[in-house]
Subunit: 466 residues, 2 copies
């Protein structure tokens, strides 16, 4: 009987896993049966935008945390696929910070034509609108996976020889309680449920949090006319050169109505609160002993090579790291997992796995600078690529791009998205967008590609966006 592999999630990580198998199939490798489970009705994961918040039409937790007018907050040159470049997809240089819909177009473009076996598209391997309800170890080997087709409620329990968990870790909000928050009269929204800053125009906005969500929602609010944005930061300030109406304050102590009390004793009144307080690695569908338990870190303990679950065999996790690198890191991981499943690569014994994990954890502890932090993840990816046939690329130059991006943000947090970077894959220098980001209020693919006369992209575009 043919082996069966389950992939949970068809976002960037799950799509990378599908692509990895398709890539082997194109080289005549024999591929096990692949079933990818996706609770949304299309693939793209976070990049599959929805206006819905909280629970979706099937009363499942909404997956995507994206909002209108979200543009990439890092240069696309840092996330470019090594086996499918932006040039290949768009047929001409585009800017370094494309909006959400353009990135969905790119990741969709890589896989929408690909086949796992002749005549069977990758997309046919995905069961859409299907939620995984329970995964448990099978008594002999492999896993029993119960899934539910959401529109019909029909459940099925199937055996899989291996399971790849590719559901991401930015979907379940971490929402701390603050004393008195229930008395705050305005909207209190976690970043996960934030869908746009338009309603914050003219408002005094409190954003609790000091990381990427806080930063980006803050400048979105500013861009769309918020009267003021106050960041409440627990640890160190972000320290950007904020416009006058954006300020960093200490952590909130408590609320009394619309009055917010800060730990330094100051108080201030706000119209709206956004909780940019992060996300939880949360896997309610996995039997407890199969769940990865970790904070958001560059090297979650318990994953050999960052993907192989130590606590059970034939169980893999993709993309569970804190992320400098994204799409191309997921690729390197997916290629390695594919090779393990195809038995092209061999797992060392548990002691050797533990030693390897420990080596990375020890190095991570010694990281002292942003450069070392980025380099750590670059080296992790290089280590993976060495084990597979994923195209090698100049990771050290990408590290420099990350550092330059950090510098751009320090110089001007409102204009960093207007900068252009060079692809290490193609050597192509990004083209400036036709409109400075602060003046761009239409984030559609059409507007982004306006004045584009490339027949190649037009043709592809009509195929990929129906």
């Amino acid at each position: 009987m043919s082996r069966r592999i389950a992939i949970i999630g068809a976002g960037p990580s799950g799509m990378a896993q599908l692509r990895a198998f398709a890539s082997a199939a194109a080289q005549q490798a024999e591929i096990p049966e692949i079933v990818c489970f996706e609770k949304q009705s299309d693939w793209g994961g976070q990049w599959n935008y929805t206006w819905r918040t909280g629970l979706d039409e099937h009363s499942e937790p909404v997956h995507s945390s994206m909002y209108r007018h979200l543009w990439s907050n890092g240069p696309k040159e840092c996330l470019e696929f090594a086996d499918y470049t932006f040039d290949e997809h768009f047929g001409r240089p585009i800017s370094s910070y494309p909006p959400r819909a353009v990135l969905w177009d790119y990741i969709n473009g890589r896989v929408h034509h690909a086949e796992l076996v002749p005549g069977r598209l990758l997309k046919d391997a995905v069961r859409f609108s299907t939620a995984v309800r329970q995964v448990s170890s099978h008594s002999e080997r492999g896993y029993l996976l119960t899934s539910e087709h959401l529109p019909t409620g029909q459940q099925s329990t199937e055996h899989f020889d291996a399971v790849v968990v590719a559901c991401g870790h930015f979907s379940y909000p971490h929402i701390p309680a603050f004393e008195g928050i229930k008395t705050f009269p305005g909207p209190v929204t976690h970043a996960h449920d934030f869908r746009g800053a338009e309603s914050l125009a003219g408002k005094d906005v409190l954003i609790i949090g000091g990381s990427y969500s806080a930063e980006d929602i803050g400048i979105q609010a500013h861009k769309l006319g918020a009267a003021s944005v106050t960041f409440s930061v627990r640890t160190q300030p972000m320290g950007f050169g904020w416009p006058d109406t954006l300020q960093e304050w200490p952590l909130v102590e408590r609320f009394t109505g619309s009055t917010t009390h800060f730990l330094d004793g100051r108080t201030r009144s706000f119209d709206a609160v956004v909780l940019a307080t992060g996300y939880r690695h949360h896997f309610p569908f996995l039997a407890p002993e199969l769940r990865l338990v970790t904070a958001n870190t560059l090297y979650p303990d318990g994953l050999y090579k960052g993907v192989v679950f130590e606590g059970a065999r034939d169980l893999y996790f993709l993309g569970m790291q804190d992320q400098w690198f994204t799409f191309n890191m997921f690729d390197a991981q997916a290629w390695f997992v594919r090779d393990l499943i195809l038995q092209r690569a061999v797992l060392p014994d548990p002691q050797s796995q533990r030693r390897d994990i420990q080596t990375w954890l020890t190095r991570l502890k010694s990281v002292q600078s942003v450069r070392e932090d980025v380099q750590f993840q670059a080296d992790y990816i290089a280590d993976l690529i060495e084990l597979t046939d994923y195209p090698s690329f100049d990771l050290d130059t990408v590290v420099e791009t990350f550092l330059a991006w950090k510098q751009d943000k320090k110089e001007n947090i409102l204009t960093y998205r207007d900068r252009c970077y060079r692809s290490v894959m193609t050597g192509t220098l990004a083209a400036p967008h036709h409109t400075p980001w602060m003046e761009a209020f239409d984030d559609s693919v059409e507007e982004y590609l306006r004045e584009d006369s490339s027949p190649r992209y037009s043709a592809l575009s009509s195929l990929t966006r129906q």
Copy 2:
């Protein structure tokens, strides 16, 4: 081995089921082992208010749909327990439309002291912060129930001889899509996630829906200063004598940005949208063949006496009806289910069950007026009470109270909560609240009971609200 009974949910229905067993225990009946599963950290179900929306701190769907400043929207005389009156709890007459927290105090007061076996409080039978993940038929008899203690992630699978589903049906929002809604720039909130109307002050508010949620959120918005409230109603208008700034319009056809297009061709711009589009009977934790499938109706098909699931034995559902009556109907149901479990009452054969269901369904089809509708549910409850030792009460007079309430609302939708009704349980006439509802902006128990010098309530109160 002692029989084991699972109750899913410790809201009004689950608390009624616990109370029913406690009542039998007080009469020396032998009670099986009862385990009640409640995913919230306290009991009260909908009446256990939370400021959270979407997902809770454990990433479970938030249960309660209540908002700040929610006051009962029907006279308390229609929902009063026959075995624990408002007089008994509060020690003096209170008004007919108490706020949320006062009703929680009342339902908590009935059970917080009760014991199932001597020395073991009812509350000890509840496993709080514990979600039911899966219920399936056991191969021989009864059910296997998998639950998860949310703070620790620890799961356990246990056998139960009978399962009582008491999770309610106002927790999973029905959220239809409207063309272009993703372009609407303001907040789009389902009633389930609505927590207060304060942020609607000065706003033009669109409320989609024409039932109780729409009506009450509309007048809440008006009370808290909305510039205008437009109800978009699919079927018949609510037809109240609205203030000038509240209007009923036809159903929305589509959105283009903040401009809303209605089916009659008119357009209007809004600042915020509230979807008061109802709820789904949704039981993701039940095996598909155990799920009640029904619209919101006074007599869901497939439930003998409105509680006994036809498709499997020893499975019961409480409170799944569309509701005129609430707390006292849940009681009548819970008492009957208790008697079936204790084998004080006997189920007729399946054909007789079906005939009984069919008789009610046939009668329901012939209902032509509000009076007949309310009387239908009153007669259903009378039928149940006749089968049990739940205290009988004057249901026909409660029907008249419902009809008077409907009339009060027609006369003035903003002042109906200032009317006073007489209890059929005690004969007590409600006392007017010290402040007209439209001028009452503090809905706390303390404010509601202000100027109360009754030592009895004070003493009880200090016990019940720690």
